[in-house]
């Protein structure tokens, strides 16, 4: 028995209009997310992963326009839906956790009230019921002494506690899908670990789907079952995390993996792959990664590369992915102890 995917993204396109031209921030992205599954989106800044996430919840930044493709969440086509329908889905079906909890929480509102807002306004609970629910949620996300803490303002809490508040808010509407935009990047190393464990626990207990955006492969490895690697607005590789990390097929993925010094520990930002991400207003001809690719050949410059299906659930966008495979065979990324 297979369940229908909770999220179906097909050929998503998002553009920004800048003075110097049109930036194709998301250029034909497609993926599915199953109910109760944690799905990762990996890439450098500028890869389009955050914009994709924003598109899922319908909160694109100012100036961005959805110019193509469809997004279906829980059977509803959100791209074709009107603003009211979209708004209806937010919070109760889809919710979001943001990167920097200090700026993502209202500085003049008590955290308890912020958590209680959705139950109060969207779920129709009474004021006392909503407050009780907020305290319940705070306990669920591991905030000690929740009754007292609910009276606090965001600036009075530590970073880790603030992030837990964010998670509580995201869960307050009983959503089916929680979008995570680098929720641990702004946190201390030890706290990062705690938060990730919390997210994993919650995901399993509540059977929610996660779409987890990060530039940190180790974090994705800890949290997600499947992932898509994004580069320059496109998906360049996708599949099960285990498989992709053991046997990457795209030179970019390989580069990312090799750049992580110690795979087991949740730590470093991406170290360097030579070169820098392309200007999305004028991407390179042919394969977008070719200027930085170790295995580049002549035909890589010729025409844009399509996604190729390797297996069930396994895709790669590279003409010479066998090169990458060979490289991994010679020098494996993950050495089993």
């Amino acid at each position: 028995m297979t369940r229908e995917p909770l999220v179906k993204v097909r050929d998503l396109r998002v553009e920004f209009q800048l003075a110097r031209g049109t930036v194709h921030a998301v250029d034909g992205v497609s993926f599915d997310v199953e109910p109760g599954e944690a799905f990762g989106l990996v890439g450098e800044s500028g890869s389009g992963k955050t914009v994709t996430l924003r598109a899922l919840v319908g909160l694109l930044p100012r100036g961005a326009k959805l110019t193509g493709g469809t997004i279906e969440i829980d059977g509803v086509d959100v791209t074709a839906a009107d603003e009211d329908t979209q708004r209806h889905l937010r919070g109760t079906t889809v919710s979001m956790i943001f990167q920097e909890p200090m700026t993502a929480l209202n500085p003049v509102m008590r955290v308890g009230d912020q958590i209680a807002e959705e139950p109060l306004v969207r779920l129709g609970m009474s004021r006392s019921a909503a407050r009780a629910r907020a305290i319940e949620l705070m306990a669920l996300v591991g905030i000690p002494d929740p009754r007292r803490r609910a009276q606090a303002y965001p600036h009075e809490l530590s970073g880790g506690l603030r992030q837990r508040v964010m998670i509580a808010i995201a869960l307050s509407g009983d959503p089916k899908l929680v979008l995570c935009d680098e929720p641990t990047t702004a946190l201390d190393v030890t706290i990062q670990d705690q938060i990730l464990k919390l997210l994993r626990k919650l995901q399993h207990e509540l059977d929610v789907s996660l779409v987890f955006v990060s530039h940190d492969l180790a974090v994705i490895a800890q949290t997600c079952r499947r992932l898509a690697v994004m580069y320059a607005g496109q998906v360049v590789e996708s599949g099960a995390v285990e498989q992709v990390f053991r046997e990457p097929r795209h030179p970019y993925t390989l580069g990312l993996l090799r750049a992580v010094p110690d795979f087991e520990v949740v730590r470093e930002r991406l170290a360097s792959i030579p070169g820098s991400p392309p200007d999305l207003a004028a991407p390179p001809a042919g394969c977008r990664f070719h200027p930085r690719c170790r295995f580049v050949q002549e035909d890589c410059l010729a025409i844009p590369v399509e996604l190729e299906r390797l297996d069930a659930g396994r895709e790669v966008r590279c003409l010479h992915h066998d090169q990458t495979a060979a490289d991994v065979e010679r020098e494996p990324v993950i050495v089993d102890a």
Binding site: R62, H88, T92, P107, M166
Partner: protein, 294 residues
């Protein structure tokens, strides 16, 4: 503060004693009057005595009217206070909705219209606006409002205050609009507004509970700073609308060279401004919990 204006007052050419005595002034008589009022003592002695009397609530006697300057001021103070409070209320009522519309429809037609308001509005001389309003509402369109004076009874007062307060408010509103709009735009871009939206609550509630509550904070400061404008505006507006407030008192006293009264009024103005700054600080702390724990 008081020292500065006191010295300023006394730089005025034109001997008050001579003015009062008019054409009965002979050197002897002038000297007598000056002695009676202590005007022949050195400046610092006069100032000392003045501050002493102020501490006891005595602001000196009006040279012109012969009654206590403090009394005169107190008599007319309510009018001016009415004007200031009403103007502030009007200004806020005008500015907030306009700024909100401009910020939510940023860069589209309504925004451009609202942005034009400060641009054009700041160039309007306040007194001229008053005159134009008088023209339109006082004299033509059904003679809706009185052309001057204070009216009687609570509603009479209110009625005669509407045009003047509106005039001052129209002068203050552009500054508020500009500041609030900018503040709102910034706030609407912030992450916590996105968080609020991700909860799926209505845009109206987002605006009310999240955006405005934060944007208002910086605007309160702007309002406070511009109270100086408000207070100064009453000075001129009271002239235009013939309102018997302390602004008109000041101007008349200036022309009559009535020192003690001018002094008293300036002192009261200065005190009012300081009070307003204090109030602004308090309001700021009330609105912004981050400030409280310093």
């Amino acid at each position: 503060m008081t020292l500065g204006e006191y010295v300023g007052r006394h730089l005025v050419p034109g001997d008050p004693a001579r003015t009062i005595l008019g054409n009965q002034a002979t050197p002897a008589r002038v000297a007598l009057v000056r002695h009676a009022w202590g005007l022949d003592r050195p400046l610092y002695v006069q100032y000392w005595k003045f501050m002493g009397r102020v501490a006891h609530g005595n602001l000196g006697d009006s040279l012109f009217y012969g009654v206590s300057a403090g009394h005169l001021v107190l008599q007319r103070l309510p009018v001016t206070l009415w004007l200031i409070i009403l103007s502030a209320i009007f200004a806020v009522c005008i500015a907030v909705p306009l700024a909100a519309v401009a910020a939510t429809k940023a860069d589209r037609a309504p925004d451009h219209v609202v942005r034009a308001v400060p641009l054009v509005g700041l160039g309007f001389p306040a007194f001229w606006v008053g005159i134009v309003l008088l023209l339109i509402f006082g004299l033509h369109a059904g003679r809706l409002f009185p052309v001057g004076g204070y009216g009687s009874g609570f509603f009479g007062h209110l009625h005669s205050m509407i045009l003047p307060a509106l005039t001052v408010a129209l002068g203050l509103a552009p500054i508020l609009i500009r500041s609030l709009r900018a503040s709102l735009l910034e706030v609407l871009e912030s992450e916590y507004v996105t968080t609020a939206r991700s909860k799926g609550i209505s845009e109206k509630r987002v605006m009310r509970k999240h955006a405005l509550r934060n944007a208002i904070i910086s605007t309160v400061s702007v309002l406070g700073v511009n109270i100086g404008y408000l207070v100064g505006g009453t000075l001129v507006i009271e002239q235009v609308f013939a309102l018997p407030g302390i602004g008109q008192l000041m101007i008349n006293s200036i022309f009559q060279r009535d020192f003690p009264v001018v002094q008293a009024v300036t002192l009261v103005f200065a005190v009012m401004v300081v009070l307003v700054y204090l109030l602004t600080d308090v309001a700021h702390a009330l609105l912004d919990p981050r400030v409280r724990f310093e």
